[in-house]
């Protein structure tokens, strides 16, 4: 990824040195990483909104309104994934690492995979939104 804004669901205060939240819809904050010419140019955070049953489109609209281009999740349900696709946000998957920075570095380097339909939550072991 050479240019754009990456969002990472984060614990606590967030930030590049923080840790990722396993439940993107329930996360406390989103860490935003702005990338220009393959380099990190700016870090910011955005407070997540209230999570309610069936409110999958709340974070979708929130991130779309903040011009996010890519999202990295540990797990996601079918409905929010389809929502992100509809608003043009690419969803990447890494269910192994808790730290934000190495995952972001891999995304910028093109080493992360976009999540596939058969990797969504639903009868499996992933963490839903």
């Amino acid at each position: 990824m050479k240019n754009g804004r990456i969002a990472v669901p984060s614990n606590g205060q967030g930030g590049l040195d923080g840790t990722r939240s396993g439940h993107f819809g329930h996360c406390e904050v989103f860490t935003f990483i702005d990338v220009e010419n393959g380099e990190i140019k700016n870090i910011s955070t955005l407070q997540n909104q209230e999570h309610v049953q069936g409110g999958c489109m709340v974070p979708v609209n929130l991130l779309a309104e903040h011009k996010v281009n890519a999202l990295v999740v540990g797990g996601i349900g079918m409905r929010p994934l389809m929502g992100f696709r509809q608003v043009g946000i690419d969803v990447y998957h890494d269910s192994e690492r808790a730290e934000i920075k190495p995952v972001v570095d891999d995304l910028i380097a093109g080493k992360l995979q976009i999540i596939a339909n058969d990797q969504v939550c639903g009868g499996g072991g992933m963490n839903p939104a």
């Binding site: 904050v29 935003f32 910011s44 955070t45 955005l46 407070q47 997540n48 909104q49 209230e50 309610v52 049953q53 069936g54 409110g55 999958c56 489109m57 709340v58 979708v60 609209n61 929130l62 309104e65 903040h66 996601i76 349900g77 079918m78 409905r79 929010p80 994934l81 389809m82 929502g83 509809q86 969504v120 939550c121 639903g122 009868g123 839903p128 939104a129």
Partner: protein, 131 residues
């Protein structure tokens, strides 16, 4: 105006929600008799909520929800199911269904559903600021 689509082969399905239109002038209720009929209606019209019966003439309610979510994820949905809440959660995981309704939902369910829907619609359109 909140547009709601009720999907059931029973023309009297969830009449308590439909009767709410008399009390809530901001509701518009439409009906579809099957899953495929509903998907066709959804492709050409705006709906904020789709409520499906447990069994439709051409698919189950949950099968319909999966088709709906894969093509129209922005639409909120509720579904009738006789499963326990735990089993329903497992069966519908990832579909983002805002409420499980019992067979033959009544006026109380209608009021709770509308209240929950209005809350979701209010926060869906509210974006926070960057720190």
């Amino acid at each position: 105006m909140i547009h709601i689509l009720l999907v059931s082969s029973d023309k009297d399905f969830f009449t308590d929600l439909a009767s709410n239109t008399e009390e809530n002038v901001d509701l518009s209720i439409s009906r579809a008799s099957s899953g495929s009929n509903a998907l066709s209606m959804i492709s050409g019209n705006r709906f904020e909520l789709v409520v499906s019966d447990e069994s439709l003439s051409d698919m189950t309610g949950l099968e319909f929800m999966k088709k709906l979510v894969s093509t129209n994820p922005m639409i909120n949905c509720a579904a009738v199911s006789s499963l326990s809440s735990e089993d329903f959660h497992a069966a519908s995981e990832g579909l983002g269904i805002l409420m499980q309704l019992p067979p033959c939902p009544d006026k109380t369910h209608a009021e709770n559903l509308l209240q929950h829907l209005k809350h979701i619609l209010s926060i869906t359109n509210t974006a926070g600021g960057l720190n």
